[in-house]
Amino acid sequence: MRIGIVSPYSFDVPGGVQNHIVDLAEALIGLGHHVSVLAPADEDSDLPAYVVPAGRALPFPYNGSVARIAFGPVSTARVRRWLARGKFDVLHVHEPMALSLSMLAVLSARGPVVATFHTAMTRSRALSAAQGLLQLVIEKITARIAVSELARKVQVEHLGGGAVEIPNGVAVARYAAAEPLPGWPGAGGALGFLGRFTEPRKGFPVLRSAFVTLARERPGLRLLVAGPGDRAELYRDFPADVRERVEFLGLVSEATKASMLRSVDVYVAPNTGGESFGMILTEAMAAGAAIAASDLDAFRRVLDDGRAGALFPVGDADALTALLAELLDDAPRRAAMSSCAAATVAAFDWPSVAQRVLEVYATAIEAIEGRVVDQEWAEPRPGG
């Protein structure tokens, strides 16, 4: 299949949507499809071979912040040229309801269009006034994908259309192959936490209390923390005798995140609510860490009802302490959980996710053509 993907955000700066697009494009190419990605970027920037730069994105005050976007007659001309040259079977745009390359591509498209909605709020105040333009964009979109339940809900309520929920994928191989940090996890055992420790719904105090109790009983036990925040603020709340056994990495890159998850015996997700999906759990599962997580609905689903990771009552530090003690002492149980996790996480691996996206492509194409293409359509075609 010939697939054209449009990124609204520049590849010159890192971001969640850009990462999603790169991972999806590579998974689709791996399945034997032809993929071209159009994105705002400088002509001379270092880009993967399948990315076509659409010129520099200009800073633009938008929706209360400054967005770097490409919009205007020059960008329109480039989008049209790319569409004409690409002869795509399907056009896949991301976040098309904001003024961006994506919206331009939708307006210029003639064939099937699939749109993916990432953020929960995709409708700006400025654009609410332009209802006619929005309707024109909506009318051209054939099928919609939302990456989370929340994004889907907003899509349904604000834009009046359904959407298929397909979560982000996880690059399982990248996590499984990452090298642990030097010296970790160590003989005394290691716990891990990733996230903004100051944010109440991440539930870090629950883990802190459990760690302090356990660390006093187990002289070798260490805690590895990564995420945005201030080192002094983190250490302030730990008693002096266990403080030096807490390692803080700060904000980490994707590669360090994978290494960090490989460096711990048990990954702890003490969240008290608000997680819509539990992306970090799938990453920890891919890295092969045993997991102790709050018994939230989303976590329970991701962890296959507790088989791929242990659950404890939300916010209960004593229960977490007991659970961690059990897990740290029971290496075979950790190994069993982690191999069950490896099987579960396969469903979240990018190739699996890409297959589901391909089904949406096929549906969009069929809806425009009014006939059902053969099932082979969605299957990998080597060299195709």
């Binding site: 009318e139 069950c340 089904e359």
Partner: protein
């Protein structure tokens, strides 16, 4: 002199207005064409699902489900929705080894029904929205196209069973074979009318 300017202005207004009307008429035509095409695609996927269900029903020796699948295949216009709802109910209840290829084919067919229905609903909504626009109603631009109707069935999504893969198998690339199989054509499927090989497009 002023009279000439009036004339030029009137001509410009007429040109802009007729361009706008032509464009709107084209939009109305497009949304109706798309809603109809999506309906045909949905129809084909429902047939595929019923055929796949019949295969599973035979294997599972589920007489009632087989009957439901036959009824869904043969249903006329008025009774189609009830027949499909009935089939969905049976599909949710069927118990068969999930490694069974016929079962996987049925799930795949059902997933496609879910998607096709979603897209059909959206495109019908777009067409109905276009019909309600004042200029379209005033000039009766939609009179040549029958109003598209929603295909009103209960959400056909099946509770996806948790992937039951043994830990040993997981380490030997089972994930790949599972995803590849899920898109395989169901055995004994009735090819829908207008089916074309992928290469032809």
């Amino acid at each position: 002199m002023p009279r000439m300017w009036w004339g030029a202005g009137a001509v410009a207004v007429v040109v802009v207005l007729s361009a706008y009307l032509a464009w709107t008429a084209h939009r109305v035509e497009r949304v109706h064409r798309r809603a109809r095409s999506a309906g045909q695609a949905l129809d084909a996927h429902l047939l595929r699902r019923a055929a796949a269900a019949a295969v599973v029903a035979e294997k599972a020796e589920a007489v009632e489900m087989y009957a439901a699948a036959r009824l869904a295949l043969d249903a006329g216009t008025g009774e189609r929705e009830a027949a499909e709802n009935d089939l969905t109910r049976h599909l949710a209840a069927v118990r068969l080894d999930e490694a069974e290829p016929a079962m996987r084919a049925l799930w795949a067919a059902n997933r496609r029904v879910v998607l096709a229905r979603q897209v059909h609903t959206d495109l019908v909504r777009d067409a109905l929205t276009a019909r309600r626009r004042p200029v379209v109603r005033l000039l009766r631009m939609a009179r040549r196209y029958p109003a598209p109707a929603y295909f009103d069935i209960v959400e056909p999504a099946l509770p996806v069973p948790a992937p039951a893969v043994s830990p040993e198998a997981a380490n030997s690339g089972t994930a790949d074979s599972r995803t590849a199989d899920s898109t395989a054509a169901p055995e004994g499927t009735v090819p829908a009318e207008g089916t074309v090989p992928a290469e032809a497009i």
